[in-house]
């Protein structure tokens, strides 16, 4: 590494009205370096990166590329200085092909005569560096969220930028894609390109980075090398206090009554012949790689799609849900995987977003009993350690992870028998993740709630689930007791 940083941000401050998202933050990036930014939800990581890539302008502070001061008025200007971002939220043009999204605005050939062959060829090249299983001619809408995330990364790569920003690229990825992405980042940095990397998965951060900077409440708290970066050290920097330990005690649920029985459930192209029992007060983890049919199974159980064959029994009675409302009335709840598209109402406030499905409870004679609603939402927010300015602010003003917490809070406000959660802790910081796991565990004990917990993070399942169901390519491969489960064992089972 040379002395001259490729990029430098000096004394950056950013305010959103009264909110100070970043306060006097400085950092540098050298050629060939992976510089990770860690911090709790709402610490200001995305805000900082959005300033680096020209999506936002700093309130105060300066940016330098190769020692010369620059000002970015748009992402385009940042791109001409060789900076590109793969953002935290999916941001693709849904009805165009994968290839065209990768080379959006940069199709090959002349401006007045696009060379489609070359365009698809080049796009495929960039795509395959990141992942080789996605069809470059497919429409974006036909891809899973994880695949869309990979396309987004390929797009950042295709700009040939010298600096690529990865804002939580692995939040949606499972084991195999994550490994491929790590390899890819190592490859490009070996070529002398550099990366900013954001993730809540601390092992990844330690393995990949040359330097790690921690932010807390918009303030730079320190910068360490990977050799110092123990898990405890990183969590302490992020949270300002030592790490808690995860892992809940083993429970024996075999004598509990069965709440939900699923028998030979099948749906064309999605999953085949799935059977399992869910017991009262149990947390049943669901593990699997991308394309395993986990989400599809959850949606089908919830009545969002119809099964081709098979039976579902709730408390011993056959049920057939034609629409989610039937499932909700029967006591099922589903927390969807993709919060931006299926989870939030962008124009409503945080409180309204949280209380909307249960708003009847706060119905007064003519109006909503607002104070009560606020109190209840506030209580849950505190439990989940959500960070916000006012509950009346629009939900879009929250950081990604905090939006997720309020969506979880939404479902905790209602009484139910079965809670199906699809990647509930995706993009949520370490401490809050443990907090959420504790809340889930408490719900099963206090309310006798049964939970189906879909998660790509095996550690999480191994920490909190009572049994773990493994799926692969639409097939149920087996159900393992946590007592007997290990990470390797689960992977092996998935691929058997």
């Amino acid at each position: 590494m040379t002395d001259q940083p490729l990029f430098e941000a000096r004394n950056i401050t950013k305010t959103f009205g009264p909110v100070r998202a970043l306060n006097d933050v400085s950092l540098t990036l050298f050629p060939g370096e992976v510089h990770s930014i860690i911090g709790e939800n709402g610490a200001g990581k995305s805000t900082l990166m959005n300033i680096v890539c020209g999506r936002l302008r700093p309130t105060e502070g300066q940016l330098f590329v190769n020692g010369a001061e620059v000002q970015f008025h748009s992402p385009l200007e940042a791109q001409t200085h060789g900076i590109a971002i793969a953002p935290q939220e999916i941001n693709l043009v849904p009805h165009l092909s994968v290839a065209e999204n990768i080379l959006l605005g940069a199709q090959r050939g002349r401006a007045a005569a696009i060379d489609w062959k070359a365009t698809v060829r080049d796009a495929t090249h960039y795509l395959h560096e990141v992942d080789n299983s996605i069809d470059p001619r497919a429409r974006v809408t036909s891809l899973s969220k994880a695949q869309q995330q990979l396309v987004q990364i390929a797009r950042a790569a295709a700009t040939q930028a010298r600096i690529i920003i990865f804002d939580e690229p692995t939040a949606m990825l499972t084991y195999r894609e994550t490994e491929m992405l790590m390899d890819y980042i190592r490859r490009i940095t070996a070529e002398g390109r550099s990366a900013f990397y954001i993730s809540h998965r601390l092992d990844e951060v330690r393995d990949l980075s040359h330097r790690i900077t921690a932010l807390r409440d918009g303030v730079h708290v320190g910068c360490i090398g990977p050799e110092e970066a123990t898990r405890e050290k990183m969590v302490t920097m992020m949270a300002g206090r030592p790490a808690k330990v995860g892992g809940h005690s083993l429970r024996d649920m075999s004598d509990r009554p069965t709440v939900l029985e699923v028998r030979n459930l099948s749906r064309d192209h999605e999953f085949e012949d799935v059977s399992f029992d869910l017991r009262e007060g149990e947390i049943l983890g669901v593990s699997g790689l991308i394309g395993s049919g986990r989400t599809e199974l959850a949606k089908c159980l919830f009545g969002a799609t119809r099964a081709r064959s098979g039976a579902v029994r709730l408390d011993g009675k056959d049920v057939a849900f034609h629409a989610p409302i039937d499932a909700i009335q029967a006591g099922l709840i589903y927390l969807p995987e993709e919060r931006k598209q299926e989870g939030i109402f962008p124009l409503l406030s945080i409180a309204e977003n949280t209380a909307l499905p249960t708003i009847d409870r706060f119905g007064g004679l003519l109006t909503i009993r607002n104070r009560e609603m606020m109190e209840e939402v506030g209580k849950l927010a505190a439990q989940l350690k959500a960070k916000f300015n006012s509950l009346r602010d629009p939900i879009t003003s929250l950081s990604g992870g905090n939006q997720q917490k309020f969506i979880i809070a939404r479902w905790l406000m209602r009484d139910a028998r079965v809670l199906i959660m699809d990647e509930p802790t995706r993009g949520i910081d370490v401490n809050a993740k443990l907090e959420i796991q504790t809340v889930l565990r408490r719900l099963t004990e206090e309310r006798g709630l049964s939970i189906i917990l879909i998660s790509s993070e095996m550690e999480e399942l191994l920490d909190v689930a009572d049994r773990i169901l493994v799926m692969h390519e639409g097939e149920l491969k087996g159900i393992v007791d946590r007592r007997d489960a290990t990470q390797e064992g689960l992977l092996e089972l998935a691929m058997s």
């Binding site: 385009l76 941001n91 165009l96 959006l104 605005g105 401006a111 007045a112 394309g291 639409g474 691929m495």
Partner: protein, 326 residues
């Protein structure tokens, strides 16, 4: 391992039929064929070459306006001022011809330039200042329509002279010139949307504005051009119509707005932007013309025509819904 782990369970090659149904304009093509067959059986003069010319010419004027509207819809906007822009442009073009002595052959390019200017006004407010296109173009609609009346005081400008009326009235190989111009421009736009970067950027901006910004596309410029072209194409339709009538009527363009939007929507263009096609719009304009012509041939009262068009639009939307369901 030879099979990639992330393969979705069963992705099969789609059949030709399935691919046809995926196409946005498939429904309208079927509707158009059915309607044509039905009318040619019910009314024996429907397929006569004279009647076909009438239908084609009718489709051409609204169709030209609809092409521009399609571009604006594709970038995620809407232009309510196209009809009024056509009217005002036709008047200004007629005045340029009769009073300013501009050569008859230059009148059409001149008027198109003027129309682009009118469209640019929308472009500045919508693309530059990020105002709501519905409100902006509602306002300019009033302004353009009002200006037409201010300038003409309600009287037509005539005659326009034979040297100029040839563009609206003339034929080449038995095909009316306006129809040829319509087909030619549609072909140019098909090419533009498919093969040029500007065309692809139009889809990108309408499909996901944020993504387009991030990809370094000059989003404002793309929107601006779309509005400008909508104004330009409306002006072309207006001046051709004046040429055909041998008069710059203040009423040119009345009713074209609904026709243009309807044709685009029938052709599968989404009001939310990013989805649609020129071929669909051309078919939509044809369908509207065939419907209008059919009601006349079948001796249905003209008053019913609007009711029928409304019903057709509802059916088209329903078919589209079913198509997207599977």
């Amino acid at each position: 391992m030879d099979t990639p782990l992330t393969e979705t369970p069963a992705r099969r090659e789609k059949s030709l039929m399935a691919r046809f149904w995926q196409w946005e304009a498939s429904g309208i093509l079927v509707a158009l064929v059915v309607l044509t067959v039905a009318l040619s059986i019910a009314a024996d003069n429907f397929l006569s070459s004279y009647n076909m010319t009438v239908v084609a010419r009718q489709a051409a004027f609204v169709g030209l306006v609809a092409l521009g509207q399609t571009l604006v819809l594709l970038v995620g906007g809407i232009d309510l001022s196209v009809g009024a822009a056509a009217g005002l442009s036709a008047i200004v073009g007629s005045i340029a011809l009769t009073q300013w002595g501009i050569h008859p052959y230059l009148i059409i390019p001149f008027t198109m330039g003027f129309g682009f200017l009118l469209g640019s006004i929308n472009g500045v407010f919508v693309a530059g200042l990020r105002l709501n296109p519905f409100i902006v173009t509602l306002a300019t609609w009033e302004i353009f329509a009002g200006m037409t009346l201010v300038i003409t005081k309600g009287y037509p400008i005539r005659p326009l002279g034979e040297k100029f009326t040839v563009f609206g009235q003339g034929e080449l190989f038995g095909v009316p010139l306006p129809v040829l111009i319509f087909i030619l421009l549609a072909a140019v736009l098909v090419w533009m949307l498919r093969q040029t970067r500007l065309g692809r950027n139009i889809f990108a901006v309408g499909g996901n504005r944020d993504a387009a910004v991030l990809a370094g596309i000059r989003v404002g410029r793309v929107e601006f051009v779309a509005y400008g072209m909508a104004g330009m194409l409306a002006a072309l339709a207006g001046i051709l119509f004046a040429s055909r009538m041998d008069a710059g009527q203040p009423s040119v363009g009345e009713g074209w707005l609904m026709g243009a939007i309807t044709a685009a929507i029938l052709g599968g263009t989404s009001l939310r932007g990013g989805q649609g096609s020129i071929v669909g719009t051309v078919l939509g304009a044809l369908l509207l013309a065939v419907l209008a012509n059919g009601t006349v041939l079948m001796n249905v009262s003209g008053f019913w025509q609007r009711v029928i068009v409304g019903c057709v639009v509802l059916v088209a939307v329903l078919v589209d819904l079913l198509r997207r369901k599977d």
